[in-house]
């Protein structure tokens, strides 16, 4: 490798992978249900960022045909990502509705306390 050229670690792909695993960590380690739902959002965000970054080329143009000799950007990921974002938002909305209903029943945001209450009810 010639001098002056550094490996750029801060690419969109690497950020996406880190985001994905932050979400995964949150899912495994947090006991708060709200934080679980947020973690799901972060994971989804990581995947979406990965999708739009995989075929990215610097200085590419919007894919409007006409000119010759220009690098065009891949239009497919951008078209599909919109759908994925909308799907993600719907899932988050449903999750929050379910959480609110659960909160009215158990009065806690903690997974472990919910389980404890359930066991107590069973024993009664």
């Amino acid at each position: 490798m010639k001098e002056g050229k550094k490996i750029n670690l801060l690419t969109a792909q690497n950020t996406a992978i880190v985001l994905f695993f932050i979400g995964f960590y949150g899912l495994c380690a947090r006991r708060n249900i709200i934080k679980t739902i947020i973690s799901l959002g972060i994971m989804g965000g990581g995947v979406i960022l990965y999708f739009i970054s995989i075929n990215h080329q610097p200085n590419s143009m919007p894919p409007i045909m006409g000119e010759v000799g220009i690098v065009y950007a891949d239009p497919l990921p951008q078209a599909l990502v919109i759908t994925a974002i909308v799907v993600g938002i719907s899932v988050t909305a449903v999750a929050l509705v379910m959480f609110i209903s659960m909160y009215h029943t158990y009065g806690t945001t903690n997974w472990q306390k919910v389980k404890k209450m359930l066991n107590e009810r069973k024993n009664k």
């Binding site: 994905f20 899912l27 249900i33 679980t36 739902i37 799901l40 994971m43 989804g44 995947v47 990965y50 999708f51 995989i54 075929n55 497919l76 990921p77 599909l80 759908t83 994925a84 799907v87 719907s90 899932v91 449903v94 999750a95 379910m98 959480f99 209903s101 659960m102 029943t105 158990y106 919910v114 389980k115 359930l118």
Partner: protein, 478 residues
């Protein structure tokens, strides 16, 4: 008129209409289901291009014989489920119509990303339906596992897009031989796990118990036969025709499927509640079906899938009626319940015996095909496991049927007075429907040549070359 797009569009249109006309929601659902079931019998095999862009750039719907069987079966099963539990539909008509659109989309689509979208539509509807039992923590568990599965599936198809430059199923399948196993390992496994959540494969089937065991007469058969059946059809399509992978990956997935099968059957043996027995048995059967698809025995897998979803429809409906009438589905406190409801009991028994693989029922024909297929492929390990598990399966089904038919505890002389108090389980209409479905199980097992003709229509499913058992073989001829 027989355009397969209508199978997706009409239920969606009716779903929007039932938001506006809330009172007619139930009837709109019935109209949508009747329309879909009728149309499913008239669509022909072929490809439909949507939006005017030719594939691989545009989205297409692909109808082959495999999909056709799926569409007819799933729409009919959903119609039966809704007709049987029409009184419980209530506010859920919008959700059910959306689910119907999503299910048909999942079965028909020829595009991997499109499949993701339809899967999310179905799954979000399923989350809402699972909240019917008001056990919200189970719903949230399902939601979290399901969403992680969807995200993994999405990541899998993105990686596949990165490798092949296409999301069209046929195009991906054509480009797959150019890739090495090492490149395919991560995307295929991610897709496998993502679909596996809906199929109920073992490490990701933790949500099943909470959701199924609290579901009522409407939701339980809907989950166990309609949604699970759809997921298995999609699994078959993906892993037989789109991603036929190499030996290493096949072995990995086969081990997971077989472990699900063994775990499901043993767990079912241990349960006391009827619904728990049925749900673990359906996990086990799902594992067996996926194992067959991965091994390439498509015809046997489809027959097993059909026999299993039909049986589960009857059994979960009746199990739902137990909780409804007796407020328990513990089989020890339901001694002799079928003495009062003989016809309901007969339908349940036929379904259960078909699951156990008693001759003259379709379940036996399924098992026969599986064993013949494996023996002809000179695979002797899996048949041994399947036959061993058949003993376990038979044991818990006999135990269950004995408890439900014979009044009195073990060691007591059965007398009618020991039975639980008399209550009518299902209305006359529903009993007749259950009996007709049970008749289909018998007919499918006795008239096997007709069964084969109906399922395959003379062509191999997804290019499957495995043998199917016919009457002429039993007489010694080929």
């Amino acid at each position: 008129m027989n355009n397969p797009v209508l199978l997706i569009v009409i239920p969606l249109l009716l779903a929007f209409l039932s938001v506006i006309i809330k009172k007619a929601g139930k009837w709109l659902l019935l109209v949508g289901l009747l329309f879909n079931t009728a149309l499913a019998f008239f669509i022909t095999t072929g490809e439909t291009i949507i939006g005017g862009f030719a594939p691989p750039y545009g989205i297409n719907l692909v109808v082959d014989q495999f999909t056709l069987v799926g569409v007819i079966l799933i729409n009919t099963l959903m119609l039966i489920t809704i007709v049987v539990s029409f009184d419980l539909v209530g506010k859920y008509s919008i959700v059910l119509l959306t689910a119907l659109a999503g299910i048909n989309g999942m079965l028909l689509t020829g595009d991997l990303f499109n499949l993701f979208v339809f899967m999310e539509i179905t799954v979000i509807a399923a989350y809402i339906l699972s909240a019917q039992a008001k056990k919200y923590h189970h719903t949230i568990t399902y939601l979290v596992i399901g969403s992680v599965g969807s995200v993994l599936y999405l990541l899998g198809i993105i990686l596949l897009y990165n490798l092949t430059g296409s999301l069209n199923m046929a195009d991906v399948a054509a480009k797959l031989p150019l890739l090495t196993t090492k490149e395919l390992l991560v995307p295929v496994l991610l897709i496998f796990i993502g679909i596996g959540v809906e199929v109920k494969l073992m490490p990701v089937s933790g949500w099943v118990k909470g959701v199924y065991s609290n579901a009522n007469r409407l939701i339980a058969p809907l989950f166990a036969s309609v949604i699970a059946g759809t997921a298995l059809f999609v699994f078959g399509k993906l892993f037989v025709s789109v991603l036929p992978v190499s030996d290493t990956l096949t072995l990995l997935m086969l081990i997971m499927s077989v472990m699900t099968f063994v775990f499901g059957e043993f767990a079912a043996f241990n349960q006391k509640r009827v619904k728990n027995i049925l749900l673990y048995s359906s996990i086990g059967q799902a594992g067996l079906v996926t194992a067959l698809f991965i091994s390439g025995l498509v015809y046997a897998a489809v027959i097993l899938l059909i026999s299993n979803v039909i049986s589960k429809l009857i059994m979960f409906t009746i199990a739902g009626a137990f909780t409804e009438k007796y407020e328990t589905d513990d089989y020890e406190s339901l001694n002799g319940v079928f003495v009062h409801n003989k016809f309901t009991g007969i339908a349940f028994t036929i379904a259960a015996l078909s699951m156990a693989g008693i001759p003259l029922l379709i379940g036996f024909y399924a098992k026969l095909n599986i064993l013949i297929g494996f023996f002809q492929a000179q695979n002797y390990v899996l048949p041994a496991i399947i036959l061993l598990m058949a003993i376990v399966e038979g044991a818990y089904i006999i135990k269950l049927l004995l408890a439900l038919w014979a009044p009195g505890k073990e060691g007591q002389v059965s007398e009618k007075s020991f039975a639980v108090e008399k209550k009518q389980l299902l209305s006359v209409k529903n009993t007749i429907i259950c009996l007709i479905v049970a008749l289909v199980i018998i007919a499918g097992g006795v008239l096997i040549d007709i069964t084969e003709k109906v399922v395959t229509d003379g062509q191999p499913l997804l290019g499957d070359q495995s043998p199917s058992f016919t009457i002429s073989q039993s007489k010694g001829g080929e």
